[in-house]
Symmetry: D2
Subunit: 204 residues, 4 copies
């Protein structure tokens, strides 16, 4: 993306946000169905889960706010939405379905926020923004999947709601690598810092 | 993006939404500054403005709801946000600045909605969703710039707010073509129908 | 409230909204805990539940959109909010607690929307507005409890989101009658039509 | 409201929130039209403006975040909403109209936030919540008019968005005293601390 980089650099996009004083760790949609190449998974998602595991361990040691998200539609399909028309099998992600459970290596501990959502952003139609505001959070470390879907939407909304988004590149995964890279590019230029897990762990 | 297409097809993404009964035309950020390669413009934005001009003419004839957006920050910079840290020159887009005026070929007529916004989505921190709901709109035809920024964010939020988004590919432009194409791919797979202006004009 | 009425009439408040073409019935927080005077109930709530029962029957016959709300906090109290500081016992309303179940005479049928919420408004931090927009709803018939709390907040937000709110006075209840009356006054003057269930049934 | 108080006390409503570490002052709709008994004013609004003047002076000395709101509809009435059906004369409040200007004794200084809104809450369809979050605000001191309208709605939404609302009773005014008192009662029981300006000034 050399020529793209040139255009964005000339127009002074992509400046650094930096790390705030009170970060939260947001883990987007690392549920079984998104870790299964025969469902919604594939690509580099397994590696991203591994990296998130390390990050989650440090976040727990440092006692920062931790929030997980799941996509959950109701058992009777009463809340299907437009995204379910684009991607019909999303409706199989119900409260008790195996595919909508958070992967076992990242199981939430009591007291960690668990957001149920029906659209890409962790912030849309949920109480995540107020929860983070009430806890004095100023920075959101974004991990999860997919980079080109719910991660991007959540990082964008984090910025819109007044939190500095830091997208942890190697803790984000996607079913296909092209969109993964393309979306990290957009995020870095316009909405978020994009860094490696190692750097984040050093800052925590 | 052959291999990407394969993955998405296998997982049954990218189904068609179709055209509702009551469309609105949303024209995102076609302002002078985004039509100037030395400010925020470049790429295929001029052609997209031309195509939007034709579409706007038909939309006015058909008397559908029309909404324009502008990025507007306050003169005293009291409302600068995190996006202004990533892209500092956005703060030059003030109410009266030449760069924040809608391009002359698309000047809003009295009665058309004009949304002032400070973040990518036309729906975030604005009254656009309620305005469209109150008018009975069910479908949002999305045009404007940039495809990889405010167009995508607005199309995504249209879907989240319960409107079927139809992104008019040749009426959307971007400063760089790689992100333009990558974002049309994401939009088509997950959030919106992506069609040509000709098809939309036939449906109206 | 004679003198209040005079002031509002002189300033031309309180005009009629009228009935739209596509109403939904919203039943706010008629759960066991709010029907129990020793928990959050009392006042005229039992009568309001009876009236709502009749209205729900007609709404089902007419096949209009029906949405119920419950206040639900997580079992591990990870999502307690500021309202829980004002009213600590709200945290007992968890997914499986008897007090947070909808009263048996109004049990939702499959396909009816059930909204879980943590603040007064049925629209805040939920997907209710998008659900109603996607179904083409233009009018929200508001019933439930308490009039001075979640009913008022939900009717106000219905208006803000672009739906005409019709508050069904005798299908709304409150633990104390003074606030019930005071809030119906405010709603009628500024945000909603306030009518009796009989009138609504005639319109449906 | 003795009996009401009993019910609320028995159910353990009305607990104290307390003062956070980083307050903002929110001044709701103290514009000429709401200070004119022949427009939208009357009652105890003039006294509330006087009290707010003192509070604003201290807030500026202490350098806390200050936000003002105005109701502003577009000149061409393209954004009229449902509230304008209830109260048609609201549409006279346009950007340049005398009636929509903030009263001269409270004129905003450069750098103070000025929110234009079209519905009661200062937070609805605006960027106020993100602005306060990005500045690390945890407490919102609410003043303005009317107590039974935009003050209540703004205090409620402050709570919903994760800020502790402190309603400054004698810095809030209403066109009629009954609704003023009734709404302070509701606010105190359920959503906010309700205190006098003197107490707030001592805390700042």
């Amino acid at each position: 993306m050399t020529s793209e980089n040139d255009v964005y650099e000339k127009q002074n996009f992509g400046n650094k946000l930096g790390f705030g004083n009170s970060p939260a760790l947001l883990i987007v949609d690392f549920v079984n169905g998104f870790n299964d190449p025969n469902a919604f998974g594939g690509g580099n998602i397994p590696e991203a889960i591994e990296t998130t595991k390390s990050l989650l361990k440090v976040a727990r040691e440092k006692n920062i706010t931790i929030a997980h998200t799941r996509v959950v539609f109701s058992d009777d399909s009463s809340d299907l939405n437009i995204m379910c028309k684009k991607v019909p099998s999303l409706k199989t992600l119900t409260e008790a379905s195996e595919s909508s459970q958070i992967v076992s290596s990242l199981t939430p501990l009591p007291g960690e926020i668990v957001i149920r959502k029906q659209v890409p952003s962790a912030f849309f139609g949920t109480n995540l923004a107020p929860q983070l505001t009430a806890r004095g959070v100023d920075t959101v470390l974004v991990t999860g999947c997919t980079t080109s879907g719910c991660v991007r939407a959540s990082a964008l909304d984090a910025m819109c709601w007044g939190f500095m988004p830091i997208v942890v590149a190697d803790a984000c995964g996607d079913r296909a690598i092209g969109p993964h890279e393309a979306n990290l590019f957009d995020l870095k230029q316009k909405y978020a810092d994009v860094v490696k897990a190692d750097e984040v762990i050093k800052e925590l």
